[in-house]
């Protein structure tokens, strides 16, 4: 009897917490397709707000994808070899390097953005291009890629695999291509999902680094929250959900699959 009571009250509590998180999202989704949010859903269902968002903000969505995939390409090209080197070398220097590249996780994005602005703000062409935002995203997401790949290396004794490929005559580059990268794939994939998801949603850095001509999706969101009617802002948020939720689900499934292995 008492157990039943405890269970029920815990369940109700958890349901309340869940609804605190979910209800606003549902409100936002429904507001995005409602003719008039003030009058409620009975005013009719429409896609006009979504269409309007697309008209106004298609550029930001496109740029966000460009930056996300450019960030991914760079973190892959830079982060995966680095993770290998840090794992193989080991020792104190590797730990220091790892510590340094992990710092952007501990330091607020605002501070990093300020630092970038103070250093490179005068390089006009660079500062005005989307590459400036890209740099911020790469710095911010790099630790996720490096750590995710290093986590895999720690579980499969990559050092001995590397040595055995070497004993068969493979050059360092061949080993990297044939043995290291294929066996790091789970970590590379997990890191990639993380990097794309984070880059698509990054605001703190991006807000400081963007220009009127280099607006990403979250910048557009903030813009619409400040200046558009609620239905448009909601429709825009709806588009963001549609983009980000498959990534989140993929990440979740992937984590579960890894946990089962």
């Amino acid at each position: 009897m008492r157990d039943r009571l405890i269970f029920t009250s815990q369940l109700i509590f958890t349901l309340l917490v869940a609804s605190f998180l979910v209800v606003p999202a549902i409100l936002s989704i429904s507001a995005g397709v409602t003719v008039n949010y003030f009058r409620g859903i009975q005013s009719g269902v429409t896609l006009q707000w979504v269409a309007q968002v697309w008209e106004l903000y298609a550029g930001t969505i496109l740029l966000s994808f460009v930056i996300a995939f450019a960030t991914l390409a760079l973190t892959l090209a830079v982060g995966v070899p680095a993770a290998y080197a840090l794992h193989i070398r080991g020792g104190r220097m590797s730990r220091v390097v790892e510590e340094i590249i992990t710092l952007p996780l501990a330091i607020p994005g605002l501070a990093i953005a300020l630092a970038l602005l103070l250093t490179y703000g005068d390089f006009g062409d660079f500062r005005r291009s989307w590459l400036f935002i890209l740099v911020g995203h790469v710095i911010f997401t790099m630790p996720f890629m490096v750590r995710s790949v290093m986590a895999v290396f720690a579980t499969i004794d990559i050092k001995t695999l590397d040595e055995s490929a070497a004993s068969l005559g493979a050059s360092p580059w061949r080993r990297f291509r044939d043995v290291i990268v294929p066996n790091a794939l789970p970590g590379i994939l997990a890191g990639s999902l993380m990097v794309v998801t984070l880059s698509l949603g990054e605001f703190n850095l991006t807000w400081m680094l963007h220009t009127p001509l280099t607006k990403t999706l979250p910048i557009g969101l903030a813009d619409s929250y400040a200046s558009m009617r609620l239905e448009v802002a909601s429709a825009y948020t709806l588009i963001f959900f549609v983009m980000i939720i498959p990534l989140l689900v993929a990440m979740q499934l992937f984590a579960e699959k890894e946990a089962k292995r």
């Binding site: 409100l27 992990t102 605002l110 360092p172 703190n204």
Partner: protein
């Protein structure tokens, strides 16, 4: 090419990127912070200038409150979800964790939809008491927003920690005559302490540095990130904003480093 030089070559791009776009700018930030009219004393302004000090205290209190409430909420929910199996559990977990990657701006908007001028809470209170309850744009709205993005993260950590808990410890305590509350107090909660420290530090550091939510809820909230932003963009006070952000960076880094040395696991803030 020897293996040694190949390994160095692998590390080179990271070294270049990190040096050029992180270390150099951070050094520049630190130098700029000392470049104001007060020189190095600019770094003390965060403590001596009453307005900055009040903001700092505000921010710390808000982050601490967020951390404590999040830990309590997440522990109750996380323990419940990990210890019971019932239909719909997976859906409930998904609901509790999906805001994980929402940027601060979106979280801010969620709070506006809940407690803003056209929000759900105001709507209800209007119907019930004839008065519209609107608090999204106050410190309470910000607090709610910080809870919104902290809860999913902390729940995940707590659930993982509860899963790793050795059920034998609880059974041993019960065999020695401990009642349910004593078991929780003497066995379960102490065993979860490292998870509390780790996830609490993340929640605290994230709340200290969160900018997007405060920005969206805007108007009149004095928290450190907003102060830095306004000093930089509106007042063009580069040295003060640099000094303040170095201070903020040191605080968050220090909290995380402290938690890591205590709990021994990797701790990082994000968002």
């Amino acid at each position: 090419m020897s293996h040694r030089s190949f390994v160095w070559l692998c590390l080179l791009p990271l070294a270049v990127v990190t040096a050029a776009f992180f270390l150099l700018p951070m050094a520049r930030l630190v130098v700029t912070g000392a470049g104001g009219p007060q020189g190095l004393a600019g770094y003390l302004a965060i403590l001596t200038e009453p307005r900055y000090r009040a903001t700092l205290i505000n921010t710390v209190l808000l982050a601490a409150a967020t951390t404590i409430v999040t830990l309590i909420v997440a522990t109750i929910a996380g323990m419940f979800l990990q210890r019971h199996r019932f239909p719909g559990r997976a859906v409930l977990i998904a609901m509790l964790t999906f805001p994980l990657a929402f940027p601060g701006v979106v979280v801010g908007f969620m709070i506006i939809l809940l407690a803003g001028r056209q929000g759900l809470i105001g709507d209800f209170s209007n119907r019930l008491f004839g008065e519209k309850l609107v608090f999204a744009y106050s410190i309470y709205g910000l607090f709610l927003g910080y809870l919104y993005f902290s809860i999913p993260r902390v729940i995940l950590t707590i659930m993982a920690a509860v899963q790793k808990l050795d059920i034998g410890l609880e059974e041993a305590a019960r065999s020695l005559g401990a009642g349910p509350w004593a078991v929780q107090r003497d066995v379960v909660l102490p065993a979860l302490a490292p998870a509390f420290v780790a996830s609490g530090a993340i929640a605290f550091a994230t709340a200290m540095g969160a900018f997007g939510t405060a920005f969206t809820l805007a108007t009149n909230i004095d928290v450190l990130p907003m102060l830095i932003y306004t000093e930089f963009t509106l007042a063009a006070n580069f040295s003060i904003s640099a000094a303040l952000s170095v201070g903020l960076g040191i605080i968050t880094w220090f909290i995380l480093a402290l938690a890591r040395s205590f709990s021994g696991s990797a701790v990082a803030a994000a968002g």
